[in-house]
Amino acid sequence: MLFILFQLGQDRYALDASNLVEILPLAQVKALPHAPVGIAGIIDYHGVTLPVIDLSDLALGHPSVARISTRILIAEIATGRRFALIAERANRLLQRDATDFVEPEVTVEAAPYLGPITRDDSGIVQWITPQKLFSNAVCDALYQQAREAA
């Protein structure tokens, strides 16, 4: 399996490449006032409005720094249901089997998207499941909002 690596703070995380449609450079995002924590706003993706989730804001509480290595990843969690993720230092790939990942000893209830972990030369990498970034209710609300804003 191919994984895209990115960073939250100093730690490294991985997204399954089969969940991703495209990796884009960081772009201007239209903000949504009163949006839940982690929602940076919406973007116009080739005529389709997608909600944008800032992973750094969601997990650490501060927005991603605008750098060249900070990118927008278009993720598809179900057919036709896509959203954009802003991830810092998303410029490396990792080739691993699903069996190389082990469940961590500690799980965090507030962050169900944190998955199993693996190791490489530079340390620990944790698998992020984009399907679990939000509960279904928040997800539905997001798409409603994105549609209305478009």
Binding site: A27, I43, R67
Partner: protein, 219 residues
């Protein structure tokens, strides 16, 4: 931003005195080099960059129709026709066609020797009902060569003598037009679609129907 460009001083593009070169062979394999690349990617971006990439993401993608299909265009009498390229095995020069005894059919001309194989020759003129009358050649097109089209369908090979072969014409399926229903000629029966070619309209032959009729005339 200041980069320590060791690759230009002691590395591959420098005097090659770096001790790590013995192991890495080329600077592109060295972790110092990729760390410098990562450092370049960590540059902060400005509003122009964000606006520019937002514009690129916003642009609705245009699908371009490519010429994905191809057909061999040839002439029968005054009619320009086409057959899908995958059916045409070769275009040969005219060879003697030996008639078959006790065959009265106008469609079956006889057999011809194509590279040692005896193949049955079918007259498209007779099958499609087109006169063999020679077209008036203009001054610019004086040289016209008759050819033999060797075609294959479901493992069976046949020879179709034609009056002229243009060559392979590439097109996209969207370019195909409907066969005009008002044309009562038998050519129209065998035409699957019309294809614009140069300033003319070429009839793309329906291979299923064509080979069905040929097989029927052979039995």
């Amino acid at each position: 931003m200041k980069l320590h460009d060791c690759w230009k001083q002691i590395g591959t593009w420098g005097d090659k005195s770096c001790p790590q070169l013995a192991e890495a062979v080329h600077c592109r394999n060295c972790p110092t080099y990729s760390a410098a690349a990562a450092q370049l990617l960590d540059r902060e971006v400005d509003a122009t960059y964000l606006a520019q990439s937002a514009l690129e993401i916003r642009t609705v993608r245009q699908t371009v129709a490519r010429d994905t299909d191809s057909a061999v265009v040839f002439r029968i009498g005054a009619e320009w026709l086409a057959l899908p390229s995958h059916l045409v095995h070769e275009v040969g020069v005219l060879r003697p066609i030996h008639s078959l005894p006790h065959r009265r059919s106008a469609t079956v001309l006889g057999i011809a020797n194509v590279r040692g194989a005896l193949l049955i020759c079918i007259s498209l003129h007779a099958l499609l009902g087109i006169d063999k009358a020679p077209v008036v050649t203009s001054a610019s097109r004086t040289l016209v060569h008759e050819r033999l089209l060797v075609v294959g369908h479901e493992g069976e090979r046949l020879v179709l003598p034609v009056d002229e072969v243009f060559g392979v014409h590439r097109f996209h399926a969207e370019q195909l037009g409907e066969t005009p229903a008002t044309v009562a000629k038998s050519t129209a029966t065998y035409t699957r679609a019309t294809l614009p070619w140069r300033d003319k309209t070429v009839g793309l032959l329906d291979e299923q129907l064509l080979f069905y009729s040929i097989n029927k005339s052979l039995s």
